[in-house]
Structures are given as structure tokens and as C-alpha cells.
Symmetry: C2
Subunit: 329 residues, 2 copies
């Protein structure tokens, strides 16, 4: 199934089912009003959603609308919990080399993960409203998953079965503010802006063989101002999403609607490019001693997509303009 949220007067929008070919959608308010409601009710309504999805694909419903006419929000415009991992170890290795940092102890045994803000997720077309260019505005192209209820102490195998939906996201980061917050040990707060999401959240079966072992085996294409920036492969993720979820569930239950992120998609193969500016700057520092590529300025455009083997978009696109408020940080 493909699910999305269209804008209405409600902060959490209106849940819709989107057809397999991404051309049509239908409201499913009789089953669940919002995506969070659907996730809370999932075991009771999944089968009914699936029947509706098949009827939509067969154009057997009367209230079908055109995707091209819709204004989409993030699939979950707000989330009760957002946990972003750093599951591509290649990214951390490059950062350590570039900044001459000590390796993080246990980084290959325990997935790195920070808790983020779930109060206002942006749509894939919303502007990146940054406080200032001085904060080092960066994007991070990531995959993510949205889960059902997971009891404390659940295994990675159990967690794998509770992955309801897969998403694509841009973890907007303010690089100049990260080092001070990392040094405190308390994690990123000022160093992260609101996260944005591509419009379509899909069930794992939609990916077919491209969903394997808790990883999305497709490249994530990133463009900066229409110039190719990278197409790193999701298959290179060191920990699977199910392993990240089980790590967090060691000491607490996780409730339906929690979103987990992969961290910036990153490959050792340099021909794949990269999904964030800081990684390119790290490569430049390693090669020449200093970074050349600048962070985002006002007016720039970030564009991300994932295409399947037939060249069709999987999650829809993220395409965001940078706007700067020039407030004092």
C-alpha cells in the first residue's frame, strides 16, 4: 500500500490511500482520519485498507481524486517519537578522518541514535526556513521507517515484523552548532531544524526484493540546484532498521507511529557521491586539508528522490528552497 496525508484544516491532515501508479488517491476517513489513527488501529484496519487499495488500483471506487491536484503534507505531520540513527558507518569514519576525532567507542556494536523533534514535520515541498546562513545549513538524505507498538525487550526479528511503512526524509542540520552540543553529551537540539518528508509512505511489500534484511536496496538521488550531488545505495547500511529498533526497545516500550531514520545515506564508493554537504567537505579535508564546498545559502534548492529499477519514483520527491530569517543565533 501507499499512504499519504493531504492538507486540510486539521494539524494532522487527512489520511489517503494512493494508487500503485501514484496517479489517483482516495480518502479513507471511515477507516482512519489520520495516519497516526491508522497506525494506532493498524491490526484492526490493515485488511480493510488493503481491500480499498486494490479497489483503488482497479479504479472500482467512485470517489477517486487526482494526485496531481493534491497538496500533500508529511505522511505524519507530527509524530510522538522521532529517533534518527547513524547507520551508515562510512559517514562517521569520514568525519573522524577529516576532523581528526577519536573513533566513537562501540560504534560498530551499538547503533548511534539521537532523539529528534516530532512536533512539526515538513512536507517535501516546504521551504527550509533557517535562522541564518552562519549556522551551516545542510541536508541529509535518509530512509526511514514508521513502526507499530513494540514491547520493551523485543528482538530485532520481532521489530522487523512491526515495520509498517517506509519513508524518505531530509534531516535538516545546522553544522556550525553540532560540535558544541555533541561535546555536552546531551545530543543535538539547536543543531537540527524540522525534518521534511517525501509525500508517500509505503508498506515494505511495495519494495519487493529492494526491501531486504531491514534495508532499502535502492540508491537515494540527491541534487543541489539541479546539479547531481550523490546517489548512495541504501544497501550499504551497517545496521538494519530492525536492529536500531531493538536497540532502543532494550529499556522501554515503543509506541505506534514512532519514526526511525537511517542517518545520511553514505557509501565508501566515491563515485556514488554523498547525501549531505558535510560529507563532501570531509572528503575535501582529507584530500586537500581544507573544505571547498560551502553550506547552503538563501535561495538554493535541495532535491531528493528514489527511483525503482523501472525509473519510477518510489516516495515522491523532496524539493525544498532555502529561506533565511537572519535572526540572532
Amino acid at each position: 500500500m501507499k499512504l499519504a496525508t493531504i492538507k486540510n484544516t486539521n494539524q494532522d491532515g487527512q489520511l489517503v490511500l494512493v494508487s500503485e501508479d501514484l496517479k489517483d488517491y482516495v480518502e479513507v476517513g471511515d477507516l482512519a482520519t489520520t495516519l497516526q489513527d491508522a497506525l494506532d488501529l493498524w491490526p484492526a484496519i490493515e485488511e480493510k485498507l488493503l481491500i480499498r487499495y486494490e479497489a483503488l488500483n482497479a479504479l472500482e471506487l467512485t470517489d477517486i481524486n487526482k494526485v496531481s491536484d493534491a497538496e500533500f503534507m508529511a505522511p505524519l505531520p507530527r509524530s510522538w517519537q522521532w529517533l534518527d540513527g547513524s547507520l551508515f558507518l562510512n559517514h562517521g569514519t569520514l568525519m573522524q578522518q577529516a576532523f581528526h576525532l577519536e573513533p566513537i567507542e562501540g560504534a560498530d556494536s551499538y547503533p548511534l541514535v539521537y532523539q529528534g523533534a516530532g512536533d512539526s514535520f515538513l512536507s517535501g515541498s516546504a521551504p527550509i526556513i533557517a535562522p541564518s546562513e552562519q549556522v551551516g545549513i545542510d541536508f541529509e538524505g535518509e530512509f526511514g521507517v514508521i513502526v507499530g507498538d513494540i514491547p520493551m525487550g523485543s528482538s530485532a526479528d520481532y521489530a522487523l515484523g512491526q515495520i509498517r511503512l517506509i519513508v524518505m526524509l531530509n534531516d535538516i542540520s545546522y553544522r556550525a552548532l553540532g560540535p558544541r552540543e555533541m561535546k555536552t553529551g546531551f545530543g543535538f537540539v539547536q543543531a537540527k531544524g524540522p525534518t521534511s518528508f517525501a509525500p508517500f509512505a509505503i508498506t515494505p511489500d511495495e519494495l519487493g526484493r529492494h526491501w531486504h534484511n531491514g534495508r532499502i536496496n535502492l540508491p537515494l538521488d540527491v541534487y543541489r540546484n539541479d546539479k547531481w550531488f550523490g546517489s548512495p545505495e541504501g544497501s550499504q547500511m551497517y545496521f538494519g532498521f530492525h536492529e536500531l529498533i531493538a536497540h532502543v526497545a532494550k529499556t522501554r516500550p515503543i509506541k505506534a507511529g514512532t519514526v526511525f531514520g537511517s542517518g545520511t545515506v553514505s557509501n565508501a564508493d566515491v563515485t556514488k557521491g554523498q547525501a549531505c554537504i558535510s560529507e563532501l567537505r570531509a572528503k575535501e579535508m582529507i584530500a586537500t586539508g581544507k573544505p571547498q564546498t560551502e553550506f547552503l545559502k538563501s535561495g538554493e534548492i535541495v532535491h531528493m528522490q528514489v527511483l525503482d529499477q523501472r525509473g519510477k519514483t518510489v516516495f515522491g520527491e523532496i524539493k525544498q528552497h532555502v529561506t533565511v530569517e537572519n535572526t540572532d543565533v
Copy 2:
């Protein structure tokens, strides 16, 4: 006003107004179904809630119920954002002395704050279900505030006016897991269990002169198994809540319903005791070279309350039993 949430079949419960003397309550479903709804709608419904509150206090309503018959949840059973500060610098100073840590650079200029999990807040009477005694089960007695919408770049003065409600909470912490997570720089994830809240969330005016400069000028009483553990004063908070909020709002907007915590209430005056076990252990380490007091074991009871100058409870009580699941961490 005093607000609370009673248990029903909905995950977010049913919003109620509680009388000034904490004896009676009334449902206000015609104004807002849940506390999150009320916070989303606050500017439009505050006046109506206030009129209802005055009628409740005057016993002029027909559908009044007894508080003694009610089962309360956390005021917000789920929150889109939970940010917990460390606003009592005395606590950090003691930790640094005990563990011979370097002072955190800038800790008196920038409030320390970590992002926590908002997906399942516990009621004040819910058991603390810990994975194992080996994790170092601890409580932290804290004050908190719940805010309305705050645009990016808002001043501390503006933030002060957007503080809708004040709460009391127990930030359940697993001390054995904290140091590894702090060293990564990514902040606490496994080191924190679900946070629990006393039942009554009150508007700042209810505190009268005890609400001053973004601080709660009352002691927070903590008991461990009916034995006094501490009564540290909220007045000793180094940063006000409004300063913490403005710090976070520097780089992003904050949405209604976000909860901010004070961190464990902590005083330099040793006769005030302390609001968490790790602080007592730190004092023991400083005095004798090693800690004597153990962390919580299965079956122990944590009890917290705040009394006003007439000896009346302000937020209701937190009283939690410790239960251990003995899962593998």
C-alpha cells in the same frame, strides 16, 4: 485553572477541569476532547475554560464528579515533543566533582537540554517497569512546563507568556547506561525510561507568588520507601524555563503541547537533601571516595509531591513501585 486527563478507551484520555480544592472535576468535551486539543485551540477556548472553572469551583454545574473516584493518566499521555533541561547547575557541579569530569564548556551560558521520548508518558501511579536492576534505576524529581506555539527566534520574554501549564514529573533514568551514550555525543536514549507525571497540570496564576521569573518557588519533596530523601527548592534554578525555551527556539519553531523539564531539582544547601539517587551517591563519593547508597531495586517505592504554604498538594502525587522484567540489556 487545574487540568487533568482521565482514563478512557482513547490513548490520549479525556480532558477534565479539576476544582481549586482538588475535590471535584468536570468533563469539558464540548470545548476540547484531550489536553493536546485544548493546547492546539488554547487562544480560542481559554476564556471558556476559565468560565467553566469558576462555575465548577462555585459548584454551579450539574455534571460534577469526585476526584477521589477518578483514574488519572499523565496530563498529556503522549506529547509531540519532550525536552528535558539540566537547569540546576548544582547537580552538574556535584557530578563533575564526584566523577572527576571536565566542566562542560559554556554550561553557565547555554542551558543543557536533551530531547526525550514523548510517545508514552506514565501516570503518577504507574509502576516503573525497568528492564533489569543492573541498569542503575534512578528517579529524578522535576518541575516542567507545557507551552503554546512559539515561533523560531522568539525572546525569553515572549516564551514566558506562552507557558500554559506547570507540571511535576519523574524523569526515570538508567544510570549505568548514561556514560556510554554521553560519550557518543548523541545524547540519552537507552538511559531513559518513560517519564511519569503527577495528575494535575496547573496554569501559572494558580501558583501566585510561587511562580516567579520562570521558576517555581516551592520545594519538591521526595521520599524513598516512606523515608525522606530531599526537599530541594525550585527557586534555585539557574536558568528560567523561559530561557530554556528561547534557547531551543533559536533554530526552530516549537509547537503547542511541547513539554520542557527542569532537570533534577538540586540545591547547594545539603540540608535540603536531593531529588535523585545519583546526586546522593555523588555527595558520598566526594566525602568518602565511594558511593554507599544503592540504586532502586524491585519492589521499592518512589514518592514525590509539592505542597504549598498551607500544606496542600499542588500537582497531586507521584507514587510508583519499581518492577523489574529481567530482560537482557
